[in-house]
Amino acid sequence: MLLKNIAIHYQQKNQSGEVVAVKQFDYQFQSGKTYAIIGPSGCGKSSILLSMAGLIQPTMGTVEYMGLPLLQPHSAISLILQDYGLFPWKTVWENATLGLALRGKMTEQKVEQVQQILKFLGLHELGKRYPKELSGGQRQRVAIARALATNPQLLLMDEPLSALDALTREAMQDLLLDIWQRQQLTLVIVTHNIEEAVFLGQEIIVMTSSPGEIRSVFNNPYCGDHTFRSSNHFYQYCSDIRKQLLPTIDSLGGGKDE
């Protein structure tokens, strides 16, 4: 996935002006690696993710996937939204298989595959439940199951763990690493959380405040090791990234919602 000098502007509602969400973003995401994009609220990280999912087109520059311009959602790319994007009127099973059903790919083999994914995620006995009958962590796992059901090569996640308590959040981070290692996919996660970015990103992209652009990139060779969280390297990375983020937060006077 190649983002070539993209800029993203939005038309302001009921106003004639434009909001610049992303000033400039130029980056190549390599296959099989994990990436964390971190930055203050309003820096355009979610917009970058939506453009990588083919859901919005950049105002300037191009998004290329497998050497071709990405003009619409691609079957090899899955996106998990901040509030999980689950439908309350669909059961766990219906939510998990929705992507397959929409693409008309509900073959016996695929159904078997989804059953295995649900089993791996500990959801196999909850198939008939509705999202409101699940805990936050379970809902998150259903969203992951749905994303994995279509067998993606690239998994995009927008603040996927922000609504979870600290312990569930760490368990889900471990699970994401397991999935990444098992499925050998490319993982791009957008987050506010420094510890999460350090634990999950082999490359950590730090953004400036609005309008967003890349401030710095950290290479993190320790990512993938489940014990990394309790090492000195982990704290060092967190500290370095915090230093990078502090000026952007100060310039905002605290931060605002995206």
Binding site: L50, A53, L55, Q72, P73, H74, S75, S78, L79, L81, Q82, D83, G85, L86, F87, P88, W89, K90, L98, G99, L102, R103, Y130, P131, K132, R146, T150
Partner: protein, 254 residues
């Protein structure tokens, strides 16, 4: 769960309904006793007359009225829901159609009944057109507002799964709006039955409205109450059908 337990649970569920009905009948009874006029018989007399007239034309009138109101609601539903969704999801379309709704919605359509009768005769058609016209707007406005309120995150989630417009309507807009639409149907049902009564009292010789007014003309008040009870039962049955649809298709809301 054993049969006894099941019966007990059903009874517990029915209890509030039975208690309310009993209260209503008691109030009616006391009112009838206090008033002591033939125009208001006691509930027992009315029930007796209701049973008596069932095989003497009441069922036929009931079926005709039920047919008129069900067909009207179905036609209004089939046209208003897709149109409401279309308006709610397309601001450009809404911009042009909404003023039309605002201008035509407040007009009391019942005044058009004589015109419908002249145009379409004395049969079912003018009555169905009148009820449909009135109920249509209630469902349309609800469907439009509900579709407009569907969170964009839900639509985005569907688009990320490569869903086309039809799939977004089927899997997101429709199920998301269904509870609101069923509520509007409940409200519309009351309106529909009130309009049905009006339509059947004007240049008509069939239906419960006619049965009631004909009884009044003959000063057969017990017979009139049998008709009123039949109309109440018609409303209640349809209300129960909507409840059943909600329980069946909106399970996720429980």
């Amino acid at each position: 769960m054993s049969d006894n337990n099941r019966f007990y649970h059903k009874l517990v569920k029915l209890l509030p309904f039975l208690a309310s009905s009993l209260l209503l009948f008691l109030l009616w009874h006391f009112l009838s006793v206090i008033l002591n006029r033939t125009v208001l018989p006691t509930p027992l007399e009315a029930i007796e007359q209701f049973i008596y007239y069932l095989n003497r034309g009441l069922i036929e009138h009931f079926m005709i009225s039920a047919y008129r109101v069900i067909i009207s609601l179905l036609i209004a539903f089939v046209i208003a829901v897709p149109l409401g969704f279309w308006m709610g999801r397309n601001p450009d379309i809404d911009k042009y159609l909404s003023p039309l709704v605002y201008i035509t919605y407040p007009i009391p359509k019942s005044v058009f009944l004589p015109i419908f009768v002249v145009l379409f005769g004395l049969g079912d058609l003018p009555k169905i057109i009148l009820i449909t016209t009135i109920v249509f707007f209630q469902i349309l406005v609800t469907a439009r507002d509900s579709a407009r309120g569907v969170p964009e995150a839900n639509v985005l989630s569907m688009r990320s799964l490569d869903a086309n417009s039809w799939q977004i309507y089927r899997h997101v807009i429709w199920p998301s709006c269904l509870p609101d639409i069923l509520t509007s149907l409940r409200i519309s049902l009351g309106t529909a039955i009130a309009v049905l009564f009006l339509a059947e009292t004007f240049a008509s010789i069939t239906g419960l409205g006619y049965f009631i007014m004909d009884s009044m003309g003959r000063q057969a008040f017990s017979r009139m109450f049998a008709g009123i009870m039949a109309m109440g039962i018609l409303g209640l049955l349809m209300y129960l059908v909507i409840d059943w649809i909600e329980a069946r298709y909106c399970k996720w809301q429980k």
